[in-house]
Amino acid sequence: MGDMLKVLRYELRSVVRGRTVLGLGLFFALAATGLVQLAGSVARALPSLANLVLLAVPLVSLVFGTVAVYEGRDFTELVVSHPVGRRPFFAGTWLGRTLPLATAFVVGVSVPLALAGVPDGSVRPLLLLLAIGVLLVGVFTALAFLVAFYVRDAARGLGAALLLWLAMTVLYDGAILMAVGVFAQYPLEEPLLWAMFFNPVDLARVTVLLSLDASAMLGYTGAVFHRFFGSGLGIVAAAVSLAVWVVVPLVLAGRRFERMDL
């Protein structure tokens, strides 16, 4: 624990000194400001903001996470040669990257919105959006670490990370859309809902739907959909599953790191 905190403190200091996170925070702030200005009000900006969260957050987290691992390789070798356990070091590094990024996202998005004035009705969806964003940061830095520890070459690792992003934001949904067309004759409700749980971006998106498109979702004649979208059940299930999506890649990456030959 002590070692982890020490590593974490070091990481935080170097991340802050590196200014990248500051830049990302500014990017989120600018994007949020622009969206609010374009839409005219915070309430109207929420859907576009959701798109920003679902697209930009995974991409930024993946790139930021992989780059961190590749850049810190020398330092890793140095520290690990000392009497510091690999597990605390891994945990400290991951937290040291994830926490600043999550903070940059939350502060970057919420400050311009708070300045513009959030109407009462938009507080809940906005908080939900921020929570989803933070969870997505966690999921995708964990995935980034996983990729970076498995792929030694930095260029290939970054490529793999980008491919992963493309797969999760576009290709996966494309496959689902095709499946829907091919298996149109079959009852698809349940398998489709299950499919959402195997992609964190979809999982996050479905959670957004629960708050932004409830009217449409309740218009569809499916008992399973109704149970899922009509009650608190759906949001809890989605949030828990997103948390699982943080833990699983993290555990896999940690195990790989503990055993790998640096």
């Binding site: 949904d173 829907v180 489709l192 979702m217 309740l218 218009g219 499916g222």
Partner: protein, 411 residues
């Protein structure tokens, strides 16, 4: 206490002038009926505070029946309460309660049978099967009443205000909750429904069929099981009504079926599963309405003829317009669409590029409803964009040629 009040009733026919009779609790049964029977045409019968569990009061002569504050007519779950069989009857100031459910008769708290110029005002209807039931009535007014029913199933519920073969009826400032249909019209003509609130009814907030020439102004229809459905009618005017949060698989803010020569103007449709569904409509004008935060703002079927949507405001809807054919006789002109991404170079407030309100994704969902889980996916955004640029699947002539750049509907 109630028992002692109702067990014995007395008629104290205190004459205040020649035309007034007072009924107070504490005499033999049937006090109100006897006061009515004793009254001359156009007399006033005043009923004092207390609970009256009497046989149905039949009013067969022109009369003003007034409930003083605290006058309660109780059906004990067994009977209707007042039956109006004469012209020019006024019933006001009562609390009507507990008529019970009947499967053999249309039991109502106030039943008007073939009468004209009746006036039902300022009453409270507490768990009645039908509230006010007009059959063959004309020139009646139903005003300032509240209806609160607690039915749990459609089959065990009656309508709040029910009109059958009636003409020139005015229904205004009533509040109706928890009935089967809030307001129900069948074969009603030239009537006016204004400033009522109809909410949380089991089926429809407002339901009418074969009711030509009626006007609906400033009403609120909120959270009804199936919203509002109106059918087989001509010359309907609906202005400044609010249709809000009518959600569910068969819930429509407003369902129009075989509606002809009608006007729907300045209404607010907010947070409904389907805001406006139109099939078999002919020559209807839908102008300056707000469609905000609905699942589907407009579902217009291909059998709609000359349905014109002008100057409406579409924002925050999951789907703006969906239809079931590539051909359509529906026109959209000068509406504001929050999805519109065109430009306005000459700054005249009208977009220079036409807007196609039917998204490719809405067609996908129509064919395969479960695909709805892909809503807001980046992939879907890309597909919609591609279809917008080169329409091949969406209806080509369903287009707004002159989309407004800013909303023109006052909030």
């Amino acid at each position: 206490m109630i028992g002692t009040l109702t067990a014995v009733l007395t008629v104290a026919a205190v004459q205040v002038g020649a035309a007034q009779a007072n009924v107070v609790p504490g005499g033999p049964q049937g006090a109100i009926a006897r006061a009515v029977a004793a009254a001359r045409p156009h007399d006033t019968v005043r009923v004092g505070p207390g609970v009256y569990a009497e046989p149905t009061v039949v009013i067969d002569r022109p009369l003003v029946l007034v409930g003083l504050p605290g006058a309660i007519l109780d059906g004990r779950g067994e009977r209707g309460l007042v039956r109006i069989e004469s012209d020019s009857v006024t019933v006001r100031g009562f609390t009507f309660r507990d008529t019970g459910v009947s499967f053999t008769e249309d039991r109502a708290a106030v039943h008007v049978e073939k009468a004209g110029f009746c006036h039902v005002a300022g009453n409270h209807f507490d768990d009645t099967f039908f509230g006010v039931y007009l059959a063959g009535a004309s020139d009646c007014t139903i005003r300032d009443n509240t209806f609160q029913a607690v039915a749990d199933r459609e089959t065990r519920a009656g309508n709040g205000i029910h009109l059958w073969y009636s003409v020139r009826v005015t229904i205004e400032d009533n509040v109706i909750r928890g009935h089967r249909d809030g307001i129900y019209f069948e074969f009603v003509e030239d009537s006016r429904v204004s400033d009522n609130v109809s909410e949380r009814n089991l089926r429809y907030g407002l339901h009418f069929m074969f009711s030509d020439g009626c006007t609906y102004v400033g009403n609120r229809f909120v959270e009804n099981g199936a919203g509002v459905a109106v059918m087989y009618t001509e010359r309907v005017v609906m202005e400044r009504n609010t249709f809000e949060r009518n959600r569910g698989t068969a819930a429509f803010g407003l369902l129009l079926k075989d509606i002809t020569d009608s006007r729907i103007e300045g209404n607010h449709f907010v947070g409904n599963s389907v805001a406006l569904h139109a099939e078999g409509v002919r020559r209807i004008e839908v102008t300056r309405n707000r469609f905000h935060d609905n699942g589907w703002a407009i579902q217009v079927m291909a059998n709609a003829e000359e349905a014109d949507f002008v100057g409406n405001d579409f924002a925050g809807n999951s789907f703006d317009v969906s239809t079931n054919s590539r051909r359509t006789a529906t026109t959209f002109t000068s509406n504001y669409w929050d999805r519109y991404r065109g430009y306005d170079l000459d700054r005249d407030g009208v977009g220079d590029v036409p807007f196609h309100p039917v998204r490719l994704f809405s067609l996908v969902v129509q064919r395969n409803p479960p695909a709805m889980v892909l809503m807001r996916s980046f992939l879907v955004t890309l597909l919609d964009l591609a279809e917008q640029l080169f329409p091949v699947l969406t209806p080509e002539n369903l287009v707004d040629p002159s989309p407004a750049m800013t909303s023109r509907v006052a909030p």
